[in-house]
Protein backbone atom coordinates (compact mmCIF):
# COMPACT_ATOMS: atom_id res chain seq x y z
CA UNK A 1 0.00 0.00 0.00
CA UNK A 2 1.19 3.49 -0.84
CA UNK A 3 0.15 6.72 0.85
CA UNK A 4 -0.04 9.81 -1.28
CA UNK A 5 -0.42 13.30 0.17
CA UNK A 6 -1.54 16.49 -1.51
CA UNK A 7 -1.29 19.90 0.18
CA UNK A 8 -3.65 22.81 -0.40
CA UNK A 9 -4.08 26.14 1.33
CA UNK A 10 -7.06 28.27 2.15
CA UNK A 11 -7.56 31.46 4.09
CA UNK A 12 -10.56 31.89 6.35
CA UNK A 13 -11.79 33.59 9.47
CA UNK A 14 -13.46 32.13 12.53
CA UNK A 15 -14.09 32.52 16.22
CA UNK A 16 -14.70 30.06 19.05
CA UNK A 17 -17.98 30.44 20.89
CA UNK A 18 -20.31 28.01 22.65
CA UNK A 19 -23.86 29.45 22.55
CA UNK A 20 -24.79 27.53 25.70
CA UNK A 21 -22.16 29.34 27.76
CA UNK A 22 -21.95 32.83 29.24
CA UNK A 23 -19.60 35.40 27.76
CA UNK A 24 -17.36 35.00 30.81
CA UNK A 25 -17.05 31.26 30.36
CA UNK A 26 -16.42 31.56 26.62
CA UNK A 27 -13.65 34.07 27.26
CA UNK A 28 -12.18 31.96 30.05
CA UNK A 29 -12.04 28.78 27.95
CA UNK A 30 -11.28 30.18 24.51
CA UNK A 31 -9.30 33.33 25.34
CA UNK A 32 -8.55 35.54 22.34
CA UNK A 33 -10.25 33.03 20.03
CA UNK A 34 -13.61 34.07 21.53
CA UNK A 35 -13.50 37.63 20.17
CA UNK A 36 -16.80 37.93 18.33
CA UNK A 37 -15.52 39.84 15.33
CA UNK A 38 -13.35 36.84 14.55
CA UNK A 39 -9.81 36.49 13.29
CA UNK A 40 -8.21 34.57 10.42
CA UNK A 41 -5.56 32.09 9.41
CA UNK A 42 -3.77 30.79 6.37
CA UNK A 43 -4.70 27.14 6.74
CA UNK A 44 -2.80 24.30 5.13
CA UNK A 45 -4.68 21.12 4.35
CA UNK A 46 -2.79 17.85 3.93
CA UNK A 47 -4.93 15.17 2.34
CA UNK A 48 -3.51 11.64 2.42
CA UNK A 49 -5.03 8.82 0.41
CA UNK A 50 -3.92 5.20 0.54
CA UNK A 51 -4.05 2.47 -2.06
CA UNK A 52 -2.06 0.38 -4.47
CA UNK A 53 -0.34 1.88 -7.50
CA UNK A 54 -2.28 1.11 -10.67
CA UNK A 55 -0.20 -1.35 -12.76
CA UNK A 56 -0.76 0.66 -15.94
CA UNK A 57 -0.49 4.30 -14.79
CA UNK A 58 1.67 3.77 -11.70
CA UNK A 59 -0.70 6.13 -9.84
CA UNK A 60 -2.55 5.54 -6.57
CA UNK A 61 -4.77 8.38 -7.77
CA UNK A 62 -4.15 11.06 -10.36
CA UNK A 63 -2.81 14.04 -8.40
CA UNK A 64 -4.51 16.52 -10.73
CA UNK A 65 -7.80 14.76 -10.02
CA UNK A 66 -7.14 14.89 -6.27
CA UNK A 67 -6.22 18.57 -6.51
CA UNK A 68 -9.51 19.28 -8.29
CA UNK A 69 -11.51 17.25 -5.74
CA UNK A 70 -9.96 19.22 -2.87
CA UNK A 71 -10.74 22.46 -4.66
CA UNK A 72 -14.37 21.53 -5.42
CA UNK A 73 -15.24 19.88 -2.14
CA UNK A 74 -13.31 21.96 0.39
CA UNK A 75 -11.64 25.09 -0.91
CA UNK A 76 -14.70 26.31 -2.80
CA UNK A 77 -16.59 26.29 0.50
CA UNK A 78 -13.88 27.39 2.95
CA UNK A 79 -11.49 29.72 1.12
CA UNK A 80 -11.95 33.41 1.91
CA UNK A 81 -15.03 32.67 4.00
CA UNK A 82 -16.02 33.22 7.60
CA UNK A 83 -16.35 29.63 8.78
CA UNK A 84 -18.83 30.36 11.60
CA UNK A 85 -21.14 32.40 9.38
CA UNK A 86 -20.84 31.06 5.85
CA UNK A 87 -20.01 27.34 5.96
CA UNK A 88 -23.12 25.23 6.63
CA UNK A 89 -21.60 22.53 8.85
CA UNK A 90 -20.51 25.26 11.26
CA UNK A 91 -23.18 27.94 10.75
CA UNK A 92 -26.26 25.69 10.68
CA UNK A 93 -25.17 23.13 13.25
CA UNK A 94 -23.52 25.67 15.56
CA UNK A 95 -20.38 23.55 15.39
CA UNK A 96 -17.35 25.45 16.64
CA UNK A 97 -14.77 25.63 13.82
CA UNK A 98 -11.84 24.44 15.91
CA UNK A 99 -8.92 22.93 14.03
CA UNK A 100 -10.18 19.48 15.09
CA UNK A 101 -13.69 20.14 13.74
CA UNK A 102 -12.34 21.60 10.49
CA UNK A 103 -10.31 18.40 9.99
CA UNK A 104 -13.38 16.21 10.61
CA UNK A 105 -15.61 18.38 8.40
CA UNK A 106 -13.13 18.46 5.53
CA UNK A 107 -12.84 14.66 5.82
CA UNK A 108 -16.62 14.33 5.47
CA UNK A 109 -16.56 16.55 2.39
CA UNK A 110 -13.81 14.49 0.75
CA UNK A 111 -14.59 10.93 1.79
CA UNK A 112 -17.29 10.15 -0.75
CA UNK A 113 -15.52 11.77 -3.69
CA UNK A 114 -12.26 9.98 -2.92
CA UNK A 115 -13.96 6.60 -2.49
CA UNK A 116 -15.51 7.02 -5.96
CA UNK A 117 -12.02 7.02 -7.43
CA UNK A 118 -11.81 3.27 -7.12
CA UNK A 119 -8.93 1.67 -5.27
CA UNK A 120 -7.90 4.57 -3.09
CA UNK A 121 -9.36 5.54 0.25
CA UNK A 122 -8.98 8.61 2.41
CA UNK A 123 -6.42 7.73 5.05
CA UNK A 124 -5.50 10.89 6.95
CA UNK A 125 -6.40 14.54 6.90
CA UNK A 126 -4.32 17.21 8.57
CA UNK A 127 -5.23 20.86 8.99
CA UNK A 128 -2.50 23.29 9.95
CA UNK A 129 -3.92 26.46 11.47
CA UNK A 130 -0.39 27.84 11.75
CA UNK A 131 2.90 26.02 11.14
CA UNK A 132 2.93 25.20 14.88
CA UNK A 133 -0.72 24.21 15.42
CA UNK A 134 -2.47 21.38 13.64
CA UNK A 135 -5.17 18.74 13.95
CA UNK A 136 -5.49 15.36 12.33
CA UNK A 137 -8.44 13.05 11.62
CA UNK A 138 -8.18 9.45 10.48
CA UNK A 139 -11.87 8.65 10.14
CA UNK A 140 -12.16 7.14 13.63
CA UNK A 141 -15.65 7.40 15.07
Amino acid sequence: MIELTRRATFSASHYYWNEAWSQEKNEAVFGRCARRNGHGHNYTLEVTVAGEADPVTGFVVDLKWLKDVIEHEVLAAYDHRHLNLEVPEFSEQKLIPTTENIAISAWKRLELAVSKAGGARLSRLRVYETPEIFAEYRGEK
Partner: protein, 136 residues
Protein backbone atom coordinates in the same frame (compact mmCIF):
# COMPACT_ATOMS: atom_id res chain seq x y z
CA UNK B 1 -18.00 12.16 19.11
CA UNK B 2 -15.12 11.29 16.88
CA UNK B 3 -11.52 10.64 17.81
CA UNK B 4 -9.12 13.21 16.41
CA UNK B 5 -5.59 14.40 17.07
CA UNK B 6 -4.21 17.77 18.07
CA UNK B 7 -0.61 18.64 17.22
CA UNK B 8 1.65 21.38 18.43
CA UNK B 9 5.25 22.30 17.69
CA UNK B 10 7.60 23.89 20.24
CA UNK B 11 11.24 24.89 20.05
CA UNK B 12 13.95 24.41 22.62
CA UNK B 13 17.62 25.25 22.40
CA UNK B 14 20.07 23.07 24.24
CA UNK B 15 23.60 21.73 24.08
CA UNK B 16 24.88 18.21 24.37
CA UNK B 17 27.93 16.06 23.89
CA UNK B 18 27.64 12.48 22.72
CA UNK B 19 30.03 10.42 24.81
CA UNK B 20 29.52 6.95 26.26
CA UNK B 21 31.45 6.31 29.47
CA UNK B 22 31.61 2.62 28.63
CA UNK B 23 33.63 3.30 25.48
CA UNK B 24 37.28 4.39 25.22
CA UNK B 25 38.10 7.88 23.97
CA UNK B 26 39.09 6.40 20.63
CA UNK B 27 35.87 4.42 20.38
CA UNK B 28 33.83 7.50 21.28
CA UNK B 29 35.52 9.53 18.57
CA UNK B 30 34.99 6.74 16.06
CA UNK B 31 31.34 6.37 17.02
CA UNK B 32 30.22 9.97 17.49
CA UNK B 33 32.68 11.95 15.34
CA UNK B 34 32.37 15.72 15.87
CA UNK B 35 29.42 15.15 18.21
CA UNK B 36 32.07 13.87 20.65
CA UNK B 37 34.02 17.16 20.71
CA UNK B 38 34.81 17.72 24.39
CA UNK B 39 32.94 20.97 25.04
CA UNK B 40 29.70 20.01 23.36
CA UNK B 41 27.58 21.84 20.82
CA UNK B 42 23.95 22.95 20.53
CA UNK B 43 20.80 22.69 18.49
CA UNK B 44 17.48 24.45 18.07
CA UNK B 45 15.31 21.42 18.62
CA UNK B 46 11.70 21.33 17.46
CA UNK B 47 9.48 19.20 19.67
CA UNK B 48 6.26 18.09 17.96
CA UNK B 49 3.58 16.67 20.23
CA UNK B 50 0.48 14.83 18.97
CA UNK B 51 -2.37 14.17 21.41
CA UNK B 52 -5.33 11.97 20.54
CA UNK B 53 -8.77 11.72 22.06
CA UNK B 54 -12.47 12.34 21.74
CA UNK B 55 -13.41 15.76 20.41
CA UNK B 56 -15.22 17.37 23.34
CA UNK B 57 -18.81 18.25 22.38
CA UNK B 58 -18.78 21.54 24.26
CA UNK B 59 -15.41 22.91 23.17
CA UNK B 60 -14.79 21.17 19.84
CA UNK B 61 -11.33 20.31 21.13
CA UNK B 62 -9.31 17.19 21.89
CA UNK B 63 -7.25 19.18 24.37
CA UNK B 64 -7.25 22.84 25.27
CA UNK B 65 -4.13 24.31 23.71
CA UNK B 66 -3.51 26.64 26.65
CA UNK B 67 -3.43 23.65 29.04
CA UNK B 68 -1.20 21.66 26.70
CA UNK B 69 1.15 24.62 26.30
CA UNK B 70 1.32 25.12 30.06
CA UNK B 71 2.10 21.44 30.61
CA UNK B 72 4.79 21.32 27.94
CA UNK B 73 6.26 24.56 29.27
CA UNK B 74 6.52 23.21 32.81
CA UNK B 75 7.45 19.61 32.10
CA UNK B 76 9.69 20.00 29.06
CA UNK B 77 10.72 23.52 28.10
CA UNK B 78 11.48 24.80 31.61
CA UNK B 79 13.54 21.68 32.17
CA UNK B 80 15.51 21.42 28.92
CA UNK B 81 15.48 24.82 27.17
CA UNK B 82 18.81 26.67 27.37
CA UNK B 83 20.45 23.86 29.30
CA UNK B 84 23.24 21.41 28.73
CA UNK B 85 21.39 18.10 28.39
CA UNK B 86 24.35 16.10 29.71
CA UNK B 87 23.78 17.65 33.14
CA UNK B 88 20.11 16.65 33.39
CA UNK B 89 19.64 13.73 35.81
CA UNK B 90 18.00 11.77 32.99
CA UNK B 91 21.26 11.75 31.07
CA UNK B 92 23.65 10.86 33.86
CA UNK B 93 23.54 7.22 32.81
CA UNK B 94 22.61 7.55 29.14
CA UNK B 95 23.95 9.50 26.19
CA UNK B 96 21.77 12.50 25.26
CA UNK B 97 21.26 11.44 21.67
CA UNK B 98 18.09 12.79 20.14
CA UNK B 99 16.70 9.24 20.29
CA UNK B 100 17.08 9.30 24.07
CA UNK B 101 15.83 12.89 24.31
CA UNK B 102 12.72 11.95 22.34
CA UNK B 103 11.99 9.06 24.72
CA UNK B 104 12.66 11.26 27.74
CA UNK B 105 10.28 13.96 26.50
CA UNK B 106 7.61 11.34 25.77
CA UNK B 107 7.91 9.79 29.24
CA UNK B 108 7.90 13.13 31.03
CA UNK B 109 4.90 14.38 29.04
CA UNK B 110 2.90 11.19 29.38
CA UNK B 111 2.98 11.63 33.14
CA UNK B 112 2.03 15.31 33.00
CA UNK B 113 -0.51 15.48 30.17
CA UNK B 114 -3.74 17.28 31.13
CA UNK B 115 -6.07 15.30 28.86
CA UNK B 116 -6.00 12.92 25.93
CA UNK B 117 -3.58 10.22 24.97
CA UNK B 118 -0.04 11.07 23.96
CA UNK B 119 0.13 9.69 20.41
CA UNK B 120 3.74 10.53 19.67
CA UNK B 121 6.60 12.88 20.38
CA UNK B 122 8.80 13.89 17.47
CA UNK B 123 12.04 15.77 18.04
CA UNK B 124 13.73 17.47 15.11
CA UNK B 125 17.40 17.99 15.85
CA UNK B 126 18.00 19.88 12.63
CA UNK B 127 15.90 20.43 9.54
CA UNK B 128 17.34 17.23 8.12
CA UNK B 129 16.93 14.74 10.92
CA UNK B 130 14.15 13.91 13.32
CA UNK B 131 13.14 11.17 15.70
CA UNK B 132 9.73 9.94 16.72
CA UNK B 133 8.58 7.80 19.66
CA UNK B 134 5.13 6.40 20.28
CA UNK B 135 5.79 4.69 23.58
CA UNK B 136 6.49 1.24 22.22
Amino acid sequence: MATAYFGRRYTLSASHRLHADSLSNEENRATYGKCNNPHGHGHNYVVEVLVGGEVDGETGMVVNMASLDATVQTAVLDRFDHTNLNFDPLFVNQVPTTENLTKAVFDVLKEALPAGKLEYVRVEETENNFFQYQGQ
